[in-house]
């Protein structure tokens, strides 16, 4: 596990606002933070913007937002800084906006006050950092794909209609049902939130699991960066949450009462979703997946959804990978293939076409190592990454990947259904 540090500075004065660190070791010393900012400022004064660099044992990424906040990401040696890191920084800035509001964050005249106001954001920043270092208790891919982490429940209709009724009852158009930080069902208006919002809102819900209800004042980084909403989170059962974005009403007490009365009739349905854990995929679909598949990640960029499953067992002779290793493998392949080689259909990287011949657009790719194989397939708007044991011949991996993609995209239970 590599260490990862995030430093936030006031861009104009260079005063450090916060330092967050995940993984082994200590965060960098104050002097080093000063020099990190110094190098960037030096470049700027010569008309050069320093984006990223690499030393023998670390990689660095700089981003300045609205000329007021500068974020620096420092990574341990294992991973090269790439477009994923600048996207991660964008997410981190967006999490500051989410809790503070853009104007409050960028018009900062009082640095000490800003430092204090940023403190509640540590929860989200730490969550993102622990994703970045692939900590085993916080697995997920939404920060990479820019899409909401989802589960595919067996029968979505009941849940969807209940959710719409509930949303109407509490006078909100934007509502969803979540389980363990993953979206089970959402209203149309929920899915119209931006990519970043769909990544951050579930993460924020997942930061706290012991409370039954929360009233979180938040800004929407893209849709409403300066006018706050109230995100009302009610825990319905041990794992399932109902989330609504509301204005001044209803109060938290009212929403607890409304949630209890409107969801009680479908308690059994809610309980049955819990059986999807930890696979995230309905048993009907799961049983169709080939036994050689030991992990998968499916992204639908059009609908801003992704589904992952790292709890598939393997029956090969190779030493089994644990879930954290499977996640790490999928993440590593995603970072190295998607962006540089395969273009995410909905979010093209800035530097994409320049490297490749325009007539030659790759659609498939694979990575083979001693401990795993990953086959990657693009079929607009999907990306499917499948993890196989290393011994599986690649032509079989390709066939199984094609068939798995068909299972998810054809038939009645498409991932694309709202």
């Amino acid at each position: 596990m590599a260490a990862c540090t995030l430093v936030g500075l006031a861009a104009s004065s260079g005063v450090p606002l916060f330092v967050r660190h995940a993984g082994p070791g200590k965060p960098p010393a104050y002097a080093l933070i000063g020099s990190l900012n110094g190098v960037h400022v030096f470049g700027e004064s010569h008309g050069v913007t320093l984006c990223s660099t690499r030393t023998k044992n670390a990689s660095f990424t700089w981003r300045t937002y609205h000329d007021s906040i500068r974020l620096v990401l420092i990574r341990g040696s294992e991973v090269v800084a790439d477009s994923c890191d600048s996207r991660l920084l964008d997410l981190m800035f967006a999490s500051l906006v989410l809790l503070l509001g853009l104007d409050n964050l960028t018009s900062g005249t009082n640095i000490e006050r800003l430092k204090r106001d940023i403190r509640p954001s540590y929860l989200l920043l730490d969550k993102l950092l622990s994703r970045a270092v692939n900590s085993s208790d916080n697995l997920g891919f939404s920060h990479l794909t820019g899409c909401a982490e989802c589960v595919i429940p067996p029968d979505q209709h009941i849940l969807q209609s209940e959710l719409e009724k509930y949303a109407e009852g509490v006078d909100s158009s934007c509502a969803c049902v979540m389980m363990n930080g993953q979206v089970v069902s959402g209203t149309r208006s929920f899915w119209s939130l931006s990519h970043m919002e769909l990544v951050l809102l579930p993460l924020l819900v997942a930061t706290n699991t012991f409370t039954v209800a929360r009233d979180l004042p938040i800004y929407l980084p893209d849709k409403s960066p300066n006018v706050p909403f109230r995100m009302l989170v009610v825990k319905l059962t041990g794992h399932v949450y109902a989330i609504t974005l509301c204005g001044p009403t209803p109060t938290l007490t009212e929403i607890i009462r409304l949630a209890s009365s409107s969801w009680a009739p479908v308690y059994q349905v809610l309980e049955s979703i819990t059986t999807l854990l930890p696979w995230n995929i309905a048993p009907g679909l799961l049983s169709q997946i080939d036994h050689s598949v030991i992990g998968l990640l499916l992204v639908n960029y059009d609908h801003k959804k992704c589904v992952s499953c790292v709890h598939l067992s393997e029956e090969s002779r190779s030493p089994p990978l644990n879930t954290a290793k499977k996640s790490a493998a999928l993440e590593a392949v995603y970072r190295s293939v998607i962006g540089p080689l395969l273009q995410p259909p909905a979010v093209p990287p800035d530097d994409f076409p320049s490297r490749l011949h325009p007539d030659h657009v790759p659609l498939e790719s694979y990575v083979s190592t001693d401990s795993y194989k990953v086959y990657v397939m693009q079929s607009s708007p999907y990306h499917l990454l499948i993890l196989y044991p290393p011994a599986l011949p690649i032509q079989i991996a390709r066939k199984v990947t094609l068939r798995t993609l068909a299972i998810f995209t054809k038939g009645s239970m498409k991932i694309c259904r709202h």
Binding site: R214, L216, L252
Partner: protein, 227 residues
């Protein structure tokens, strides 16, 4: 506690709060409650935790609901509400208490006007949290207690002294606490540390929960007799 009938019976029911086969407490959603005989009456109380930043409000909430306590202080965002179920014998009757604990983050309270009224509305008890390592906070306690409730609430008040286990950092003496309790008539609950053995989590916090439930029950009786 001996006067409340056989304690073992409450204890048997308190086991229903745990995930079967473990010492961990179950998470209950708003649609759920512990599996007790339907004849057991349920009572619900709203408790507001107030106090300065970093006085241990969220810590107290975690401690009472038997959750793992985060090692680092992170400021609470907005309002959070947690339900603590506690089956307990009052006299000869078993009663299932549901304590609704409400806690709000300082920054949000300052920034948004709806937060504090939401926490104070219909409150049955207010717990004023203060860190035992915060001398100023303790000296300010009479004012904090006076401001904690409005007379119309008739809410019960208690002080929670957190970090009581950190002897070397303690800035409040036992004698001061006793004097405060006597002069103000406000009970002070000393909380600190967590049980080293996870199996002891519930016995560790049980006296505090028993105390709170009994206090709330007494207040109900008093209010009834006034009417």
């Amino acid at each position: 506690m001996g006067s409340d009938g056989p304690v073992w019976e409450s204890k048997t029911y308190q086991k229903k709060l745990l995930i079967p086969g473990t010492n961990k407490r179950k998470f209950f959603g708003v649609l759920e409650k512990p599996n007790l005989p339907p004849s057991v009456p349920n009572v619900t109380y709203k408790i507001f935790l107030c106090g300065k930043t970093a006085s241990g409000k969220t810590w107290t909430m975690n401690c009472l609901s038997g959750q793992e306590v985060p090692s680092q202080h992170v400021e609470t965002i907005g309002v959070q509400c947690s339900h603590v179920f506690w089956p307990m014998k009052i006299g000869s009757r078993l009663i299932l208490f549901r304590l609704e604990l409400w806690d709000a983050g300082e920054a949000s309270t300052r920034q948004y006007s709806h937060i504090l009224p939401a926490c104070r509305e219909g409150v049955d008890a207010v717990l004023v949290c203060c860190s035992a390592s915060d001398r100023e906070g303790w000296l300010d306690m009479p004012r904090a207690v006076a401001e904690a409730t409005q007379p119309a609430d008739r809410a019960a008040v208690a002080v929670i002294l957190t970090r009581w286990d950190q002897f070397s950092k303690r800035e409040v003496t036992e004698a001061e606490v006793e004097a405060f309790e006597k002069s103000r008539g406000v009970p002070v609950v000393r909380l600190g540390g967590t049980a080293s053995d996870p199996a002891q989590e519930m016995p560790h916090i049980a006296p505090t929960l028993n105390f709170l439930c009994r206090r709330l029950w007494q207040r109900d009786q008093e209010l009834l007799s006034i009417k």
